[in-house]
């Protein structure tokens, strides 16, 4: 005989209450934290970490600054020149104004310091055989005048690699500014590079060039009408075979560049070059292997940049301008795929540049771009899905000295 308690248990255990249709919304609004974009959740702590790291790296006192408090091994330019020319004391300013020619070094072996640290001065680029080549503007600005000269060459020795006027000094406030700016840009760049690929966009947009019809159209007795199909080749009888497209995923572009910055003032520069972009998209099929679409673009950015801070090793800058893109090639196995017409985008970019030598540097630029809409962009890529998008370009930059 069944126990009455068991019946109570049976009836109560699986009982359900009828909840109002908007119960989840009510619960979400009252009990769950406000949603924030996933990327932002990573971005904030990431920026903090990046800024901290950058601060540690950049606030380390460079070697040449550490030696500043020690006795100067080489006498100043003015002293060397004064010793050579006359015993009498001549005002430095007067002396400098009269200098137009200094002798080039006799050979390269005689300039070890110059080899280790290329100078700002253009006379370093002279060939070793040009012993008597006159060099104009040997000491062109006040920044160089304060650097010591090598006793054997008379050339000013400067550690400055950047073509921009260094803004960093002993003032810790400036160093903090450098660290914060560099940290922000590096952090943004690295995090964008890391996170955005992880958020590759699923898309419901089916490119017109792979929409071939529906199974209902192809197979009159089929049950899957309206699905997107993809031609996968011909069967033995020569008829085209199709597979169902399950989903499409558009990946964040891979961007690399060659660039040059042409300084037009102490802080402003004109930036241009070439940027190569690869946009990958994956089409997941139901039966057959995934199809990969690859679109290659070559872009020419034209920007006006303002240098925010500049150190011996790094330049941090931000600017805006245009990017003209040409679609070089687009491939998608099994489909006759068109190419985009040349496009124009408005861009805003920040960047950090690490100067390896005086004329060569590496840069990392997070960039916000908006492609000006037009009808001639048939390709479906990450960019077509995100007309306003953040990207990161890494590349090599040739510095033109101001």
């Amino acid at each position: 005989m069944e126990d009455w308690i068991d019946i109570v248990k049976e009836r109560l255990q699986d009982a359900q209450e009828t909840l109002p249709p908007d119960d989840w919304e009510e619960f979400e609004a009252s009990s769950l934290p406000v949603r924030r974009p996933r990327a932002l959740l990573w971005l904030i702590p990431g920026l903090a970490v990046a800024a901290g790291l950058a601060a540690v790296l950049l606030l380390q006192k460079p070697e040449h600054l550490e030696n500043e408090s020690q006795p100067v091994l080489a006498p100043p330019v003015s002293q060397v020149l004064a010793d050579d020319v006359t015993e009498d004391a001549i005002p430095v300013a007067e002396l400098l104004s009269t200098i137009s020619v200094v002798r080039a070094p006799k050979n390269r072996e005689a300039q070890p310091v110059m080899d280790e640290a290329p100078a700002m001065n253009t006379n370093q680029a002279e060939p070793s055989g040009a012993m008597e080549t006159p060099v104009k503007q040997a000491i062109p600005d006040t920044a160089d005048r304060q650097h010591p000269a090598h006793p054997s060459t008379g050339s000013p020795v400067t550690p400055t690699e950047s073509p921009f006027i260094p803004l960093r000094g002993k003032d810790p406030q400036v160093n903090l500014k450098v660290a914060a700016a560099a940290g922000g840009i590096v952090g943004t760049g690295l995090l964008t590079a890391l996170i955005v690929p992880l958020t590759a966009g699923k898309s419901n947009t089916v490119p017109p060039y792979i929409r071939q019809g529906s199974l209902r159209e192809l197979l009159p007795n089929g049950h899957l009408g309206g699905d997107t199909v993809f031609p996968i080749g011909n069967d033995d009888t020569g008829q085209t075979r199709y597979d169902l497209l399950k989903e499409s995923t558009h990946y964040f572009p891979l961007q690399v560049g060659l660039s040059t910055r042409i300084p037009i003032s102490e802080q402003l520069s004109f930036t241009t070059g070439l940027t190569y972009s690869l946009y990958c998209s994956k089409y997941t099929m139901t039966v057959t292997r995934d199809k990969w679409q690859r679109v290659h673009y070559l872009g020419i950015p034209i920007r006006l940049d303002r240098t925010i801070v500049s150190t011996d090793r790094f330049d941090v800058y931000a600017g805006g301008g245009f990017l003209g893109d040409i679609c070089l090639k687009a491939t998608l196995p099994g489909a006759d795929i068109p190419t985009d017409r040349p496009s124009l985008s408005l861009i805003g970019a920040g960047g950090i540049q690490m100067n390896a030598t005086k004329r060569l540097g590496f840069y990392l630029e997070p960039e916000l771009s908006w492609r000006i809409p037009a009808r001639d962009y048939p390709l479906v890529t990450y960019r077509s899905e995100h007309p306003v998008m953040v990207s990161v370009t890494a590349g090599i930059r040739f510095n033109l000295v101001h």
């Binding site: 109560l12 009982a15 990958c280």
Partner: protein, 224 residues
């Protein structure tokens, strides 16, 4: 058909977005299922909730809220308080979802229901409603109601009878008879002895028997 060379080339190029492919295998399949309204397993659902996926949280809520709300109403005083308790339970569950350990089908609801019971007890204790008086009176001798009679009672009426039990009796009855706690577990959670738990349960059963008897009498009277 792509050539073998073409396939190799494709495979090498897959490396470019390799991170996304890995993640796709881990997560996207589940998300897609969710979007398509397909039934995904408790383990995957919990894993997505840990990541803060709102669609997964919504799915979990829709899947268990109604049942959990009925459970909470049994412990609380009425449906309104029960719903409030259910919301608290869900909110806590989403916060603590990382602690959930999947042990087979049904383990997620089991975990949620335990959490709800604990919250209900905490709430009653805070409000001072959980004092279990040690009654020296003999347990009244009321016969057990026939099983058929119990089965014929509409569910809302049966729930109302449970809700009408005094707090301590209601909690012990629900824990032991419906939710499967042992007297030892009840004693630990309520801070009473096992013997007290046992006698409280006996009194709760008798009280409920009397309620059912009165209910039937009333029903019969109406019919007459």
């Amino acid at each position: 058909m792509p050539s073998e060379t073409g396939r190799k080339w494709e495979r090498t190029e897959i490396v470019v977005p390799f991170l996304a492919v890995i993640r796709e295998n881990l997560r996207y399949k589940v998300e897609e299922k969710l979007k398509q309204g397909l039934n995904i397993g408790e383990k995957d659902l919990a894993a997505l909730c840990v990541k803060g996926d709102r669609s997964a949280m919504r799915e979990l809520y829709n899947r268990y809220a109604a049942r959990l709300s009925a459970l909470c109403s049994r412990y609380a005083n009425g449906a309104e308080e029960g719903k409030d308790l259910m919301h608290d339970t869900m909110a806590k569950a989403f916060r603590k979802m990382g602690q959930f350990r999947y042990r087979g089908d049904g383990s997620l609801y089991s975990w949620l229901s335990r959490m709800a019971v604990n919250l209900a007890i905490d709430r009653l204790r805070k409000e001072g409603r959980l004092g279990v008086p040690v009654s020296k009176e003999a347990i009244p001798d009321i016969p057990d109601p026939p099983a058929e009679e119990v089965r014929s009672i509409p569910l809302p009426d049966l729930q109302a009878m449970i809700a009408a039990l005094p707090d301590s009796k209601r909690v012990v009855f629900n824990m032991f008879c419906v939710d499967g706690f042992s007297h030892r577990e009840i004693a630990e959670k309520l801070g009473i002895t096992e013997k007290t738990s046992s006698s409280t349960l006996a009194r709760a059963k008798k009280t409920l028997s009397r309620m059912i008897e009165e209910y039937k009498d009333k029903q019969d009277g109406r019919l007459d």
